[in-house]
Symmetry: C2
Subunit: 181 residues, 2 copies
DNA sequence: CCGCTCATGTAACTGGTTACATGATTTA
DNA sequence: TAAATCATGTAACCAGTTACATGAGCGG
């Protein structure tokens, strides 16, 4: 019986960050999550510090305590097994959910929009458009920055997010036409 | 001090289902989640049964035990407070994350695609396109069914999902062009 | 010297998850 | 009569969350 200790999506993602930016501290790993426009992961210390410890115990990360002025900090590097794990996560075959439609709070609410009176339905669409446009602007700034830094794959990923929000706006425009009809 | 017992997104969603389809059993509430193409919520008994009990305790749902042949089953109806809660969830102002970009496993992986050799990067895009197209086909079928049933808002929501996956395909086509360049 | 950032953790909680258990009803 | 579906729950688990605690280094 093979011991298949599951690696979570966040763990895989951290593996990717360490691959790209290692040696790196847990603090530095957490930062991009905390600052990301996506709210999916908080990037809190309570998530990351135990996580890197776990990955180290699994042999996917290698920790090293370095001195930093008078104090010391712990940096992590990806191991060969970690890189293998990362590549296995990245490369097909994918788990079934990879191609699935994502969770979108606006879409979820849309199903029940009939519970609002007509005027509030239109306000719903207005406000959704507004907040999405705000986020879109932020994504465009980040994307420009990634391009400038030459992070090709980060930039490509960012473009994916932009496409998603643009699609959401296009959809909402359709919804509005349907509502006023 | 006001007792603000938070209602989760899944709870709100269940509230919406009961509003639309009540009186309804916990079993029937769970089914659409379990069958949904989205894997975000499992729709397991372990999620729904305790949840409806919670909502009943909060006074947002009203349970009633009805006889069903020789057995009995418990059906739930939304209360006036439940409807108020539902409308508050639906109507603006939204919580900040509502307009945020969603979690997309393909996009997450894209950031680290540099860890794969060139040929596997192209295979990544191929496979991603393939699985997304599969899901898209399923969404289109469901959308047609919702339209046929006259569920306007369900159909509109479904269209949102279709737009999202179409945007993902458009994005991947761009990525491929970038990769072979 | 004040406040911000860097840095490392722990503690309590929780909203889900999977898996299990049971049994009636319906349908092929 | 066997299999699928309807129906209701519980138990153990767990990967995250928020909040707390601590303290050094640094820029103005």
């Amino acid at each position: 019986m093979i011991e298949v200790q599951a690696v979570t999506e966040l763990e895989q993602c951290v593996l990717g960050i360490v691959w790209q930016s290692g040696p790196i501290t847990a603090y530095e790993i957490a930062k991009p999550f905390a600052q990301s426009p996506s709210t999916y992961w908080s990037g809190s210390a309570g998530a990351i510090y135990p996580l890197v410890k776990r990955l180290e115990e699994k042999g996917l990360l290698q920790g090293e305590t370095a001195k930093w002025n008078s104090r010391q900090k712990r940096t992590f590097t990806i191991t060969p097994e970690g890189l293998r794990e990362l590549r296995e996560w990245l490369a097909p075959p994918f788990t079934p959910d990879v191609g699935a439609v994502s969770f979108d709070p606006v879409r979820t609410r849309m199903s029940f929009l009939g519970a609002l009176p007509q005027r509030q339905r239109e306000r719903f669409v207005d406000e959704a458009e507004r907040v999405i446009k705000e986020h879109l602007e932020e994504l465009r700034k980040i994307h420009a920055a990634e391009l400038a830094k030459g992070n090709v794959f980060e930039a490509l990923a960012g473009r994916g997010g932009i496409h998603e929000l643009e699609a959401r706006l296009k959809w909402l425009a359709e919804v509005r036409r349907e509502l006023v009809k």
